[in-house]
C-alpha cells in the first residue's frame, strides 16, 4: 500500500532535484526542464493530499498548474530561441546584461 508519506517523500525528492538543477546547471534548456520538474513535484503532493482527503480540489489545481506550465514552457522556449539567435549560445554564464 502506497501511503501519503511515500508520495510526499517522492515529491520532496523531485523538488530538490529540480531546485538543484536550476541552481547548478548552466544550460538554459536544462534549467527550464528542471523548473518543469519542480512544478510536477508540487503536482504530486497536490494529488497525494487530494487522495488522502477524498477531495477534488487538489486535482483541479493540478490542471491549473499544468496549464500554467505549458504556457511557461511556450514563452520560455521562445525566449531561448531569441537568446540563441542573439548570442549563439544557450549558456547562462554568457547572458549577464542585467549586471549591476
Amino acid at each position: 500500500m502506497v501511503s501519503t508519506s511515500h508520495l510526499l517523500i517522492l515529491s520532496a525528492v523531485l523538488f530538490a532535484l529540480g531546485m538543484a538543477g536550476v541552481v547548478i546547471r548552466r544550460n538554459v534548456i536544462i534549467v527550464m526542464m528542471c523548473i518543469e520538474l519542480m512544478l510536477n513535484a508540487v503536482n504530486v503532493s497536490f494529488v497525494a493530499f487530494a487522495r488522502q482527503l477524498g477531495s477534488i480540489d487538489g486535482h483541479i489545481i493540478v490542471f491549473f498548474v499544468m496549464a500554467v506550465a505549458a504556457a511557461e514552457a511556450g514563452v520560455g522556449l521562445a525566449l531561448v530561441i531569441a537568446m540563441f539567435r542573439h548570442k549563439s549560445t544557450v549558456n547562462l554564464d554568457h547572458v549577464n546584461l542585467m549586471k549591476g
Partner: protein, 653 residues
C-alpha cells in the same frame, strides 16, 4: 465717518495695484498712470480733511476727539490678540494731512519730473505703495500694525532709492539704506517684545493697542526699568528710520533716488516717523526721564553735527540731506524735552519748506540736465525764475527769518529748551538751547551758501550747458508755488503766545500728546530779547554768507587754509564716519562671513553634511550593486537560501 477710515490707506494701495499691473504688462498709458496715481492720493487727502473736520466737531462737543475703526481680528493667539484697526486722534489727523497733502503735491510734481522715464508705471506703483504703508504707520491702532507700516515704508524707501538699479552705486545706496534701517527696526522689534514681556510679568493681559497701553501705563502698572528699556529700544528704531546719530549714514546716500522721492520719503514723511512714533507713545516716554533725556541729547547732537557737515558739501542734494538730518534732530530735541506739539509743529513746517527745497533742487537738476554739483551752477536766478523764487522763500523759512513758518516752529523748540522741565530733562536746558541756536545759525549759513552758489553770480557750467537750462513744466512749478506759500504762512497755525497768538496746534494736540516743557521760568522780556538777538544773528549770518560767496569768493578757500584744513577736511569728508563704520563693522562682518561662516560653517558643515550623505549613499550602492551579478543561477540560489531560511524559522518557532 469711522466706516470710511479704511478707505484712506486702501485707496493708495489700490493705485499701487493698478499701476503695478500696468508696470508688469505695459497696458497703461502714461496719462492713465498719472491720473490713477494722483487721484487716489487726492481722494485720500479729501477724506483726511473730512476726518479732521469730524474730529473738530467731536472736540466742539467736549471730550477727547478720537475715531476708531476695527475691521477684523488679525492675530489671535491665546490671550494675545491684535485687531486690524485704525485710530485717528488729533495727532494722527495732523500727520494724515501732511502725508496725503504734501504727498499729493509731490505726486503731481512727479508726473512732470518722471515724464521721460521709461519705468514710469513702476515708479508710481512704488510711490503709491509707499503712501499706503505710511498711512498704515500713521493710523495703526496698535504697535503691531504700526510696525507693519514701519517696515513697509522701509521697503518702499529701498525700492525707490535703488529705482535706477542698473547704476551699481544707486543700487548699493538702496541696499545700505535697507541694511541700516534693519538695525534700527531690530531695536523697534525688541522694544515690542520687552513691552509684551513686561506686561505678562505683571499678569496683565498683554495688549499692544495704543489706547489700551495708555490706560495700563496711566495706572502705573509697569515698572520704570521696563518702560525705560522699551523707550530706549523703540528710540533705536527711531534713530534708524529718522536718520539720527548713530544710524543717520544711510540718508545722505539715499539721495541716489529720484528727487521727488527724496522730497516725499526722505524729507517730508518717512523720516519723521520716529518723531511721530515718540509723540504717539508720549504717555510711555513721559514715564521715563532718562529716555526723554537721551532722545533730547541725541536730537541736539545730531542737529549740530549734521549742520557742520552741510557747510562744506557741493552736491545740491547732499546739502539738503544733511539739512534734513539736522532738522530731524530739532524735532527729536523737541519731543525729548516733552514739547510734543513743538516737535510735530516743526515736523509739519519742515515738510512744507524741505519738500519745497527738494522739489526746487529737482527743478534745478532738471534744468541743468542732471548736473548736481553747485560748483558748476551759478546765475540761475534769471533763467529759472519760478524755481528761484520758491527756493528762496523756502530757504528764508528754514533759516528761521521772523514771521516764516520755520521761525515759529524753531523758536518754539528753542523756547522749550530754555524752559526745560528738570523733572523730564536731566541735562541743563541752556546747554540744549545753545546747541540749538548754534545749529540754527549754521543752518542759515549753509542754506544761503547754497542759494548764492546756485542762483547768483556767473554761470560756471560752460556754454553747452547754459543753452540747455530751461524752466520746468507747470506740473512741477505749481507744487513748488503751493509749498513755498505754505512755508511762509504755515506758521500761522501755531503762533506762540508771546506774539499774542493762540497756539492753535498746541491746544489741538494737547489731548493726544500733552506737552510738559512749558514751565515759565524765563520772563517774557528775556524771551523776546533772545528772539530779537537770534534774529539779528541770523541776518548777520546771511550777510556773512553773502560776503563769503558773492562779494569775495576767495574767502572760503582762505578760511579753509587758515583753519589748517583739518576741520574743513573733517567736515568735507563727513568726519570719515562712513570709513569708520566700514573698518569697524562692515569689514569685520565681511571677513567673519567669508572666512568663518562661509569657509567653515557653510562649506564644511552645511555643504559637508549634504555631500557626506551623498557619498554614503554612493558607497552603499556600490557594495549592494555587486550582488547584482546578472547570473540567473545566482539569483535562483539566493531565492532558495531565503526560502530555506524562512522555512527554518517557521519550523523552529
Amino acid at each position: 465717518m469711522e466706516k470710511y477710515l479704511w478707505a484712506i490707506p486702501l485707496l493708495p494701495l489700490l493705485g499701487a495695484g493698478i499701476n503695478g499691473f500696468g508696470a508688469l504688462t505695459g497696458a497703461l498709458s502714461r496719462r492713465a498712470v498719472n491720473i490713477i496715481a494722483c487721484t487716489v492720493v487726492g481722494i485720500a487727502f479729501v477724506l483726511a480733511c473730512l476726518v479732521n473736520w469730524e474730529l473738530a466737531q467731536q472736540a466742539g462737543h467736549g471730550g477727547a476727539p478720537q475715531l476708531v475703526s476695527t475691521w477684523f481680528e488679525w492675530i489671535a493667539a491665546g490671550s494675545f490678540s491684535v485687531d486690524a484697526a485704525l485710530l485717528v486722534d488729533p495727532l494722527a489727523g495732523v500727520m494724515l494731512l501732511v502725508v496725503t497733502g504734501v504727498g499729493f503735491l509731490i505726486h503731481v510734481y512727479s508726473t512732470g519730473y518722471m515724464a521721460h522715464d521709461p519705468a514710469y508705471a513702476r515708479y508710481f506703483a512704488f510711490i503709491n505703495l509707499f503712501t499706503f504703508a505710511m498711512l498704515l504707520l500713521v493710523m495703526g491702532e496698535n504697535l503691531v500694525l504700526m510696525f507693519v507700516g514701519w517696515e513697509g515704508v522701509g521697503l518702499c524707501s529701498y525700492l525707490l532709492i535703488g529705482f535706477w538699479f542698473t547704476d551699481t552705486e544707486k543700487a548699493y545706496a538702496g541696499k545700505k539704506a535697507f541694511v541700516v534701517n534693519r538695525v534700527g527696526d531690530f531695536g523697534f522689534l525688541l522694544g515690542l517684545f520687552v513691552l509684551y514681556w513686561g506686561l505678562k510679568e505683571q499678569g496683565i493681559d498683554a495688549t499692544l493697542s495704543i489706547v489700551g497701553l495708555r490706560e495700563i501705563v496711566g495706572a502705573n502698572a509697569i515698572s520704570g526699568a521696563v518702560i525705560t528699556t522699551v523707550c530706549l529700544l523703540l528710540f533705536v528704531g527711531a534713530t534708524g528710520k529718522s536718520a539720527q546719530i548713530p544710524l543717520y549714514v544711510w540718508l545722505p546716500d539715499a539721495m541716489a533716488g529720484p528727487t521727488p522721492v527724496s522730497a516725499l520719503i526722505h524729507a517730508a514723511t518717512m523720516v519723521t516717523a520716529g518723531v511721530y512714533m515718540i509723540s504717539r507713545l508720549s504717555f510711555l516716554y513721559l514715564q521715563s526721564p532718562l529716555a526723554m533725556t537721551v532722545v533730547a541729547c541725541v536730537g541736539a547732537a545730531t542737529a549740530l553735527y549734521a549742520a557742520t557737515i552741510g557747510l562744506t558739501q557741493f552736491d545740491i542734494k547732499k546739502v539738503l540731506a544733511y539739512s534734513t538730518v539736522s532738522q530731524l534732530g530739532y524735532m527729536f530735541l523737541a519731543v525729548g524735552l516733552g514739547a510734543f506739539s513743538a516737535g510735530i509743529f516743526h515736523l509739519v513746517t519742515h515738510a512744507f519748506f524741505k519738500a519745497c527745497l527738494f522739489l526746487g533742487s529737482g527743478a534745478v537738476i532738471h534744468a541743468m540736465g542732471g548736473e548736481q554739483d553747485i560748483r558748476r551752477m551759478g546765475g540761475l536766478r534769471a533763467k529759472i525764475p519760478y524755481t528761484y523764487w520758491t527756493f528762496l522763500l523756502a530757504t528764508i523759512a528754514i533759516a528761521g527769518v521772523f514771521g516764516t513758518s520755520g521761525f515759529m516752529s524753531k523758536d518754539e523748540i528753542l523756547a522749550a529748551a530754555l524752559a526745560a522741565n528738570p523733572d523730564y530733562t536731566l541735562v541743563p536746558g541752556w546747554l540744549l538751547y545753545s546747541i540749538g541756536t548754534l545749529g540754527a545759525l549754521l543752518t542759515t549759513f549753509y542754506m544761503f551758501r547754497l542759494v548764492f552758489l546756485t542762483f547768483f553770480g556767473d554761470f560756471r557750467g560752460g556754454k553747452d550747458l547754459e543753452h540747455h537750462v530751461h524752466e520746468s513744466p507747470w506740473s512741477m512749478v505749481v507744487p513748488l508755488i503751493v509749498l513755498a506759500a505754505l512755508s511762509i504762512v504755515g506758521g500761522l497755525m501755531n503762533v506762540p503766545e508771546i506774539l499774542h497768538g493762540d497756539e492753535r496746534l498746541h491746544h489741538w494736540l494737547s489731548g493726544a500728546a500733552p506737552s510738559v516743557a512749558r514751565v515759565d521760568v524765563v520772563g517774557h522780556g528775556a524771551e523776546i530779547g533772545l528772539m530779537v538777538a537770534l534774529q539779528v544773528l541770523i541776518l548777520g549770518t546771511i550777510a556773512l554768507a553773502y560776503r563769503m560767496y558773492l562779494k569775495s569768493p576767495a574767502i572760503p578757500q582762505r578760511a579753509a587754509k587758515v583753519l589748517g584744513g583739518v576741520p574743513y577736511r573733517l567736515s568735507y569728508h563727513k568726519y570719515y564716519v562712513d570709513e569708520i563704520y566700514d573698518t569697524l563693522i562692515v569689514r569685520p562682518l565681511h571677513s567673519i562671513s567669508r572666512v568663518f561662516l562661509w569657509g567653515n560653517v557653510d562649506v564644511k558643515i552645511v555643504d559637508g553634511s549634504i555631500n557626506g550623505m551623498a557619498r554614503v549613499v554612493r558607497y552603499a550602492s556600490d557594495l549592494l550593486g555587486r550582488l547584482q551579478t546578472g547570473q540567473l543561477n545566482g539569483y535562483a540560489f539566493s531565492i532558495v537560501v531565503g526560502m530555506v531560511a524562512i522555512l527554518a524559522y517557521v519550523a523552529v518557532k
